[in-house]
């Protein structure tokens, strides 16, 4: 990476030049630098609304970049060690979908772990490909889904040699990493592409002490949530490509669903954040790493909580661990992660990323300060003092192997009927059922409903998880194929 080149920010600089030209706008957006919407200016500030402009010659066009956006994307590619990078304005969801749509056509098979983000399965609804799920191992103690094991990937490839791609979540929300280099080697030997959902791993490319990044491991495509650890605005994201991916085809795929009015607020935030990462990423993530490690030590010394880190690494299903993640197992104080999550927000004014049955995850980033870490640790100690309960045998977030009875696309577009959930076992599900957080499907369109799944859904609902996806939000009834 050429640091001197990384000091420039082409989109940002073009916006600055454009601002000084004081061009009279007879184009969209209709608020015209905010003058037509004073309340919006009051809320967002003059500077912000004045940057909300249309694509035009001096500012390039995201649908077909030829100047400043192209340059900015090239700089991003270099910063992340990729052959090519695309600025995405539809969230990492759009980057994930572009990967899947690039690798799969109608009827193709794609190997993926069950704990994929809904965006990946949604992509299958769009293109008509068929998922081949690899069961993720679940840690018996802390109850979270782990990485993909090589032996399982190998078996899936053997059973489905015609599959076109292997999809990997790396790292997972909790920081679990798979053996990406070996997966890439294996998949490439069988002529399959490797697509990596690296939504939670923007920082991996910028610190040598962190797990290997998708591009470094030789994956073909990666979706990067710049707005998570990268510091850009919500909804902005990157799609990275390695050598040997047809960029023209990827561009066509992106433009199938991408807006033709990309927001320059998002684009400039990507540009500036990339510059920050390139110039100061190492230093920032060193600080994040230290804060997370400090928090882990302090939380573990309270007793009753288990803030896990590298100690989990087992060489296979937990090949590596991203130490910037702060996940804490809470069940030994008799509380579920969901309960601790609620207490932190309602009683201590602390908003964390999520809580599941057994764990909470606090997101630590370049914006954190040590005094805020002290608050979190102090609150956890106080929660233990005031709210801990006898440890009970609770239902664990067990992994339930899905039975794929129809492709997601076929199920999505089939005729369906809404029937009481207790009557659905044995039928093919017509919609998603997801437990938020962490947003991993319990049921996806096309999957067989079983008694076990229904029990799990009702339990999660009772425990206060937000259940999303179904037409009937109360989950009393479920859509199944007629």
């Amino acid at each position: 990476m050429n640091l001197e080149k990384q000091k420039s920010a082409p989109v940002y600089e073009a916006l600055e030049r454009f601002r000084r030209q004081r061009v009279v706008p007879f184009d969209v957006p209709g608020h015209k630098r905010g003058r037509g919407n004073p309340e919006l200016v009051k809320l967002l500030g003059e500077q912000c609304v004045s940057l909300d402009v249309n694509s035009m010659k001096p500012l390039d066009n995201l649908c077909h970049p030829v100047s400043v956006i192209m340059d900015a994307e090239q700089l991003a590619a270099e910063a992340f060690g990729a052959a090519h990078a695309y600025f995405m304005v539809g969230g990492t969801t759009s980057a994930v979908q572009s990967m899947v749509l690039t690798a799969c056509k109608y009827g193709d098979k794609i190997i993926m772990p069950r704990n994929v983000h809904r965006s990946a399965i949604n992509a299958l609804v769009l293109c008509g490909a068929e998922p081949v799920y690899v069961d993720p191992d679940v840690d018996a103690h802390i109850g979270i889904a782990l990485g993909m094991e090589i032996a399982d990937v190998e078996q899936a490839i053997r059973e489905h040699p015609e599959a076109t791609a292997v999809f990997v979540n790396n790292p997972t929300y909790y920081g679990i990493c798979s053996d990406l280099r070996s997966i890439v080697k294996l998949a490439h030997e069988h002529g399959m592409m490797v697509l990596v959902d690296e939504a939670h791993g923007t920082h991996l490319s910028f610190h040598e002490g962190l797990p290997v990044s998708a591009m470094e491991a030789g994956a073909d495509m990666a979706a990067i949530s710049m707005h998570k650890s990268g510091g850009s605005l919500t909804q902005s994201s990157l799609l990275l490509l390695n050598e040997n991916v047809n960029t023209r085809y990827v561009e066509q795929v992106i433009n199938l669903t991408q807006t033709t009015s990309a927001s320059y607020l998002l684009l400039s935030s990507l540009d500036i954040s990339r510059r920050n990462l390139a110039l100061r990423g190492r230093e920032s993530f060193e600080k994040v790493r230290q804060m997370a490690e400090y928090a882990r030590e302090e939380i573990n010394s309270i007793g009753g909580y288990y803030a896990y880190g590298k100690d989990l690494v087992n060489g296979s299903s937990i090949y590596d661990f991203d130490v910037t993640k702060l996940s804490v197992y809470t069940r030994d104080i008799g509380l579920t992660g969901i309960e601790v999550y609620d207490l932190l927000r309602d009683e201590y004014d602390i908003q964390i990323e999520f809580g599941d049955f057994g764990n909470i995850l606090a997101y630590i980033s370049i914006g954190d300060r040590i005094q805020d870490i002290e608050r979190l640790v102090g609150a956890l100690e106080d929660i233990k003092r005031l709210y801990s309960k006898p440890v009970s045998k609770l239902h664990n977030a067990e992994y339930i192997t899905p039975i794929v009875a129809a492709t997601p696309q076929k199920a999505f577009y089939s005729e369906k009927e809404l029937i009481p959930i207790r009557e659905t076992p044995g039928r093919i599900c017509g919609e998603f059922v997801m437990c938020y957080p962490p947003g991993i499907p319990i049921l996806a369109p096309g999957e067989m409903v079983t008694d076990e799944i229904v029990d799990y859904i009702l339990f999660a609902k009772e425990k206060g998880c937000s259940m999303q996806g179904p037409e009937d939000g109360t989950l009393e009834r479920l859509n199944v194929l007629v």
Partner: protein, 286 residues
């Protein structure tokens, strides 16, 4: 020369002090610290642009936060002062001979250094041999402390700035745990007058009221505070600030004060109706 320091008390209210000269400006890991010389308030110190104290009115605050609990608790041996890096609170505490240990926990070394240089009359409080100064985060210091103190004074002023962690439920909980069974905690309660400050003030009372069996609020007039009107919180496990108040005993000490008197002690707990109302509203929300 027309040289003014201004602080926005709300978006629409500004307090300005004519400045003779600026004596110091520096940035620490925690805050920007400035010291000014003025005709009306003498020297004053600001943190991130907000007045923390001035020579002219600091006595009010230091006396009220120390003498009120000291006139109630019959036997204070060990005191914890959180954020008292200027030394003013330690100075007032040092007049009490029965106190054996005073822990002052201040995260910001620069703050202490600046106070020692420009406010020696406050900082001399830190020279008392009973005072032990710890450069630590307050919450971190309290963690693991159990049944150790008779009195905890939270001397931090800003519930929104870098000391926000000291106005939280976890902080009050940690203090409760660190106090003996008859311990008292006093703290800055902010100013209730402007709408913008009211929420913070309400939230503080709600948290303290939930954490301690006795939780009362008292007041003082401090000109450099927003609206000039300031509240303190008195949270206690056993002693009531008025029913257990021993005026005779305190007067016998013969301490010299400029603000606090035993009569004022009683009066300080008699609050204006609107303040009483907003505090009661929070108590009923619990």
């Amino acid at each position: 020369m027309d040289f003014w320091f201004s602080e926005m008390h709300t978006h629409n209210v500004k307090m300005s002090i004519r400045v003779e000269k600026q004596l110091f400006s520096g940035q620490s890991d925690f805050q920007r610290i400035d010291v000014f010389e003025s005709a009306e308030f003498g020297r004053f110190l600001t943190s991130d642009g907000s007045v923390i104290f001035s020579e002219a009115d600091e006595f009010t605050y230091d006396e009220m936060i120390v003498h009120v609990p000291m006139a109630v608790h019959p036997n204070v041996r060990k005191v914890l002062v959180i954020g008292g890096g200027d030394g003013g609170v330690a100075r007032e505490l040092s007049y009490y001979t029965e106190i054996e240990e005073i822990d002052v926990v201040e995260p910001d070394e620069l703050f202490v250094k600046v106070c020692q240089e420009f406010f020696p009359d406050n900082a001399r409080g830190l020279d008392d041999p009973r005072v032990k100064l710890h450069y630590r985060d307050g919450l971190r210091f309290l963690r693991g402390k159990h049944d150790e103190y008779d009195l905890i004074i939270n001397d931090s002023t800003d519930p929104l700035g870098h000391t926000a962690g000291l106005f939280t439920k976890e902080f009050y909980g940690s203090c409760y745990k660190a106090l003996h069974d008859d311990g008292i905690m006093v703290y800055q309660h902010g100013s209730p007058f402007f709408d913008e400050d009211e929420d913070a003030c309400r939230a503080m009372h709600r948290k303290a009221y939930k954490s301690f069996p006795i939780s009362r609020v008292y007041q003082a007039h401090i000109p450099t505070c927003p609206s000039g009107y300031w509240l303190f919180g008195f949270a206690s496990k056993k002693y009531h600030p008025l029913r257990d108040f021993n005026a005779v005993r305190w007067r016998e000490r013969g301490l010299k004060t400029w603000y606090y008197t035993t009569n004022l002690h009683m009066g300080a707990f008699m609050l204006p109706k609107y303040v009483e109302d907003l505090l009661e509203e929070e108590e009923h929300r619990v």
